[in-house]
Symmetry: C2
Subunit: 335 residues, 2 copies
DNA sequence: ATAGATTCCCAAAACGTTTTGAATAGTCAA
DNA sequence: TTGACTATTCAAAACGTTTTGGGAATCTAT
């Protein structure tokens, strides 16, 4: 027996009235409204979500696809961001759906099924690439979405991102001011927007201060990637005196490679990362890094999504959060 | 216009026939079946999920609640596990819903709304506690669920877990065999089952080899927690010569504390963790640890969930995965 | 030729809501 | 008293599927 029908029957009212009472319509008498509410509470009435979705023509859900290729996914703090986001979404009665996908084609396939089956009202795009087919697809479909990270067409959609470019520019500038002349960049794959922007910040600083030596090496954004990249850079004829790493994970790997060479970071060579992972404060020596200067990126992301669902224009929903330097020990002056 | 209606109309068939054709019923002629399939494919037909759920009386979704109190959530590898799980679930047409919750009461409230609103057919319980109200609630409701980690009533429900107890017993035994006589345990909060079991393994080994010195300290399962615990332990009158840490994160913090004291892990003191985080291979020195000897815990979890939804008895779905030691450098003999 | 099977198809009901349009009763002004 | 209005309530339609219970051909065996 339908719950609403059940409620109505036990109250001697019509389904309509019960429904409207619970939704707070003004055309039901205050007395009945209260009576209905009390009864609903008593039996823990909760509208059947499928029925409601069907009738309202809304899924009341937001989806996020998780690219899991090839190794592990992104920064370890990612789940926190999602949790904060989901928490805010829940306040609006929106569910957060997680759709892991193994490869790019599979990801697009997932999007298609998702939208064709009306399983979500909006989507979150993470790990954005400069040229991102997902963004193109979602724009074409006209479904609200917010990206976590920018793309080459960021002016055309809602996004939230840290200002990695400024962060890396500042860090590289600072290294230069400490006397470093060979400031290397350990980059993440350049199709990823964040990697591209961080590299660009580094590049801009070198240009600015007139350094033409621009050693760099691209690797996977993992400890192993950072380790390999650092090894390679330090084997060059004139090795760098500073390593600006795209992520803390890479920096942690790099630290390990330096240690193997008998180099002490912060004294023999400078190292700076990005993300301020919990582990970064406990490396040896403690890692100088930087972080997005906002405690609640996930929540803000949710807020933007909600605004977007409410019809706000995507051009009003483009947030670039400042990046704050977190100097610790590994970024000392050139010796 | 309804898509199914649309399809039916354009094919000159009834909605019924189209629906049954797509579901592969044998009472539609092979020829029409193919015709329908082709047409469906052409317009990317995908059944409206709300309508299907409503009629089938199944949400076609699995929920996982994420306890996000107080600091960050669990091991950094957790998202991978979820992704693997979601990937397998998707193959069965099941969505994975993420429900972050801030506290215990909120978590129970979330469960209630979830089940009352029929938003999920099954749930995954993570971060299990020895005495877990969530398990009691779900059992009472009779909804299928699988826990990630055991509880005190594990014999009554489906679960998947690593054999942390055996892992820690083996590790402690090994340390003893290397000559260690003061083997400390840096424990995680004991209401968490995994923490309880790991401590129990350590304790069992000490008993086994006749060591009555059992230094220990409980802390949050984070780098900061491990750091504080290690500091405290090393300040005792006769400090331990080995630290068996409940998690790698804690071990990483402990390594940092030891370094501050001028102690070199693997030479002056032994350290062993658990999880084999990617970062564990890149600490200084590389961290000896252990890991669940299965590449696909998430997938297995999904498999169990699917079996449970298929009506399999929960007592046939209780998996304890072996834990494999990953010896690196930090676990050397006593000097 | 005909009863009984078999094959293929369909109309209608149902799932549990929300929404539309209207009915009923009560109130107020003339 | 009547007509217009307001305040409350409700029956029925709709959302897009799946499932039930046939129905109309066609085939098989007598």
């Amino acid at each position: 027996m339908s719950s609403l029908k059940h409620l109505a029957q036990s109250l001697g009212l019509s389904i309509t009235t019960v429904s409207r009472a619970l939704d707070g319509y003004s055309d039901v008498a205050p007395a009945t409204r209260e009576r209905v509410r009390a009864a609903a509470q008593a039996i823990h009435y909760q509208p059947n979500s499928a029925a409601r979705s069907l009738r309202r023509r809304k899924a009341e859900a937001v989806a996020v696809t998780l690219p899991t290729e090839p190794g592990r996914f992104g920064p370890p703090t990612f789940l926190n961001m999602l949790a904060a986001c989901g928490h805010r979404l829940a306040e609006e009665g929106l569910d957060l759906m997680l759709l892991p996908t193994a490869g790019r084609v599979e990801e697009m396939e997932t999007y298609r099924r998702l939208l064709d089956g009306r399983r979500a009202d909006a989507v979150i795009v993470v790990r954005t690439r400069l040229d991102d087919e997902r963004v193109a697809f979602l724009k074409e479909r006209g479904i609200p979405f917010v990206t976590h990270g920018r793309t080459a067409r960021s002016d055309e959609h809602a996004f939230i991102d840290g200002d990695g470019e400024a962060g890396f520019r500042e860090a590289a500038r600072h290294l230069a001011s400490l006397g470093h002349r060979r400031i290397a960049h350990i980059a993440a794959p350049q199709d990823l927007t964040f990697a591209h922007l961080r590299r660009r910040g580094w590049l801009a600083a070198l240009e600015e201060v007139g350094l033409s030596d621009r050693p760099e090496c691209t690797a996977q954004p993992t400890e192993a990637g950072g380790y390999e990249a650092a090894r390679w850079l330090m084997q060059q004829r004139t090795p760098p005196t500073a390593l600006l790493c795209a992520t803390d994970s890479m920096a942690i790997g790099a630290l390990s490679a330096l240690k193997e060479k008998g180099l002490m970071a912060g004294r023999d060579i400078a190292v700076i990362g990005h993300d301020n992972l919990p582990a970064a404060a406990f490396t040896d020596p403690p890692l100088s890094t930087m972080e997005i200067a906002a405690p609640d990126v996930g929540r803000q992301l949710a807020e933007m999504l909600i605004a977007r669902l409410g019809g706000r224009d995507s051009r009003e929903l483009q947030t670039i959060l400042p990046v704050r330097q977190v100097p610790r020990i590994t970024h000392g002056p050139v010796n």
